[in-house]
Symmetry: C2
Subunit: 251 residues, 2 copies
């Protein structure tokens, strides 16, 4: 009997997100079914970041309580049962007070944008393809502006069931990935954001709005003015799910 921690990577393209929903293919349902098959008892997973439909993860963490004894090579046994778009990279007992969600100090998300006049067949469903010129310097300034404590009402759907819209962002920056994409003249830009917690769609609205800054359709001053409780409709589009990755959780 105890608490176990799972480290996970999954390609979100064919999942209706993390959370179990009747009749949908979800990551949680696939994992709980694999765990029940191997442990012989029903298991309820707690997760660090409940990713939405289509969102990927390379550093997701989940935990569960078990009553018996964990079998040897649990990660390998789970990978033998799970579909190939999920991988358990580690599975081990953790402290009795470990809870993948409540123990997390920060989550790190990454959003990838393929800046290229031509699509890249190898980045289909893995990065947002952006055909128009982008001013990376302006986007970097926008990213720097969100660091700290702000009222992020503008960056989550109005219908969101959040009660606190004032949030801290520990780090936020754009970089060009060092490995060149397969198509000539393309650059992969990636936004990394670290925060104790994220609101629904927050990173995706930030990216959609920063792309307006990068394209010259929105000034930096206007972007900064969104950070003090502006309504959702003043910010930009929600960037699509397939560019977003949960890359890590800090405990």
């Amino acid at each position: 009997m105890g608490i176990a921690r799972l480290d996970l990577a999954y390609h979100g393209g064919r999942f209706a997100g993390w959370e179990t929903q009747a009749g949908q293919r979800t990551v949680q349902a696939a994992l709980e079914s694999a765990l029940e098959q191997i442990l012989g008892e029903p298991v309820a997973l707690t997760v660090a970041g409940r990713t939405d439909a289509g969102v990927h993860a390379t550093g997701q963490v989940a935990s569960f309580e078990y009553s018996g004894k964990l079998p040897d090579s649990l990660a390998n046994r789970l990978n033998g049962v799970l579909p190939r778009d999920i991988a358990v990279t580690a599975a081990a007992p953790d402290g009795d007070d470990f809870d993948a969600r409540r123990s997390a100090l920060a989550r790190v998300y990454r959003y990838r944008v393929l800046a290229s006049p031509v699509r890249d067949p190898f980045e289909q469903g893995r990065a947002l393809w952006w055909r128009y010129p982008l001013d990376l310097g302006a986007m970097e300034q926008a990213a720097a502006a969100v660091v700290g404590k702000h009222d992020l009402t503008a960056f989550t759907p109005t219908r969101s069931a959040h009660s606190i819209f004032e949030r801290n962002i520990d780090a936020c920056s754009w970089e060009a990935e060092p490995r060149r994409p397969a198509v000539a003249g393309a650059t992969m830009l990636a936004l990394s954001v670290e925060a104790p917690a994220f609101m629904r769609s927050q990173v995706r609205v930030m990216v959609g709005t920063m792309l307006e800054v990068g394209g010259g359709r929105r000034s930096l001053d206007d972007f900064r003015s969104l950070l003090e409780g502006a309504p959702r409709e003043r910010a930009g589009d929600t960037a699509p799910a397939h560019g977003l990755y949960l890359v890590g959780v800090r405990y």
Copy 2:
């Protein structure tokens, strides 16, 4: 009227290879159909590397003769018509004596091996997943041994319709890709090979045999002895198509 050059990238996973075959989805058929639609005349493509079913390309080159005038933005117009697993990265008139196949001085292939105890959901269909320990130093020595002129009979199917098995290899080396795979503890190893021409399955048999050297199942001396006209059955398995990429052509 003239000769045009196309630069191409494609994900080979859903193609039955380059060459048109009745009833099969091939890269050549998709491109010739898109060209005919845009140019209003049938077009016959010549290609630098006739990739097999499942093999990818990031730097493929094709050429064709046209009778009218090339339309502006041909690459963009082709990409509008083509399926999303092909991208035309450049399309432009070339010299009257240009022939993508005969003018090529060398082809460069790359084979990617994910060395990892755990699969990577983001490398499914893009790299060979190898679960066992590999001695990269031994594999590098095997790669160095193939550079130069050798009788490569051992590295192509016995039924191959080649008449000359003595071939030159200009360069051959393994490297670990600088960008780390998504799963912890994984390394992406990649073999790059440059040669004036390749025989059927040559890179894939070389990789399959070098993996035996890397795993300690075959000595370097034995590997070297294959290079002087040994029969096919003395070499190792043919590594699967999905790890192989045509990355460039030198003219």
